[in-house]
């Protein structure tokens, strides 16, 4: 998975560093040559350019990256323009840092795939969440143990936890099951809500499309992902 981080302020540079540490290919972009030069050794590309210039982005091949994170501080107009360019260039996932709720709303309308409000997420946590495509969210408990959120492997569907013997076979514990449940609202329209089963018991069944939150050692979790 390749990333592009546009804007190397505090959030952008922290995120770029964390992504590089996680072993991803990262291209960094900023208008300021000093900020860019900090990354010239570690990043797969460190470019000094104005990201509001669509042609410059195109020539730099930014349309090819899997995920682009835009963090240009208070420059609301710039962030809007950049998101539009990135979507035109065909970037699969565009993540933008918003200044406030209104900014977030605008970014969402023009097609941003994820909008981050700074108080809600830290750069490091975001980087870890990308560590594995199938882990939606990662939380390090201590250096050894991690809590991850993942889609239930297909082979788990319609089996109880007891039958799966996850603790015995993998040394992992399912601490929560999240399940989407569609229902009809008072207007007769389908809606969907999330049910959660906290600390599920042996007889609890795992269904297709369930999301599991699991505690375990990283190597055991990786092994589970190969299922």
């Amino acid at each position: 998975m390749t990333f592009c981080v546009i804007g190397l302020g505090r959030f952008g540079s922290q995120l770029a560093k964390a992504l590089i540490e996680e072993g991803f290919e990262v291209i960094v972009i900023d208008k300021d040559d000093e900020r860019v030069s900090e990354f010239s050794d570690q990043a797969s590309g460190a470019l000094i350019l104005d990201a509001t210039d669509e042609k410059a982005l195109k020539e730099a091949g930014i349309g090819e990256v899997d995920c682009c994170v835009v963090s240009v501080g208070q420059r609301i107009d710039a962030s809007i323009l950049i998101v539009m360019h990135l979507k035109t260039l065909g970037v699969k996932e565009v993540v933008v840092k918003a200044v406030d709720e209104l900014h977030a709303e605008i970014l969402k309308r023009i097609g941003a795939d994820k909008v981050i409000l700074p108080e809600k997420e830290t750069a490091v946590r975001l980087a870890k969440a990308y560590r594995s495509k199938r882990f939606f969210e990662v939380l390090e408990v201590n250096p050894e143990y991690t809590i991850v959120e993942l889609s239930a492997p297909k082979s788990f569907a319609n089996k109880t936890l007891k039958e799966l013997r996850l603790r015995e076979e993998y040394g992992i514990t399912v601490i929560l099951i999240k399940r989407k449940s569609p229902y009809l609202n008072e207007k007769g329209l389908p809606e969907i809500k999330e049910e959660i089963i906290v600390s599920p018991k042996g007889e609890d069944l795992i269904l297709e499309n369930d999301i599991l939150i699991i505690l375990g050692k990283e190597k055991d979790l990786e092994r589970l992902l190969k299922e």
Partner: protein
């Protein structure tokens, strides 16, 4: 002739909704897409969004809600779902 066709369209939608509510999302998507070909409608896009959410395919779900809102920008339910997905 026209009458029969309309019934078929509604029948497809009804069956698709049945599958959706029974968490058979793939089958629901298949039928909703069939109905879309006949006549695009914001409610079909909306329900496709719900089905993709059921499959945890959030990007596809967002795409469907956005299509829905293009046809009916004030549709409260789709705005609500899209809001939640983008913030998540």
């Amino acid at each position: 002739m026209r009458k029969t066709k309309k019934a078929t369209y509604e029948e497809i939608l009804e069956t698709a909704q049945f599958y959706l509510l029974n968490k058979n999302y793939k089958k629901a998507i298949e039928l909703f897409e069939e109905a879309l070909k006949e006549k695009p409608d914001y409610l079909i896009y909306y329900q496709l969004g719900i089905a993709y959410e059921g499959l945890n395919e959030r990007d596809k779900a967002k795409e469907m809600y956005r299509e829905c809102l293009k046809l009916n920008p004030n549709f409260e339910e789709a705005n609500k779902r899209l809001d939640e997905l983008v913030k998540e």
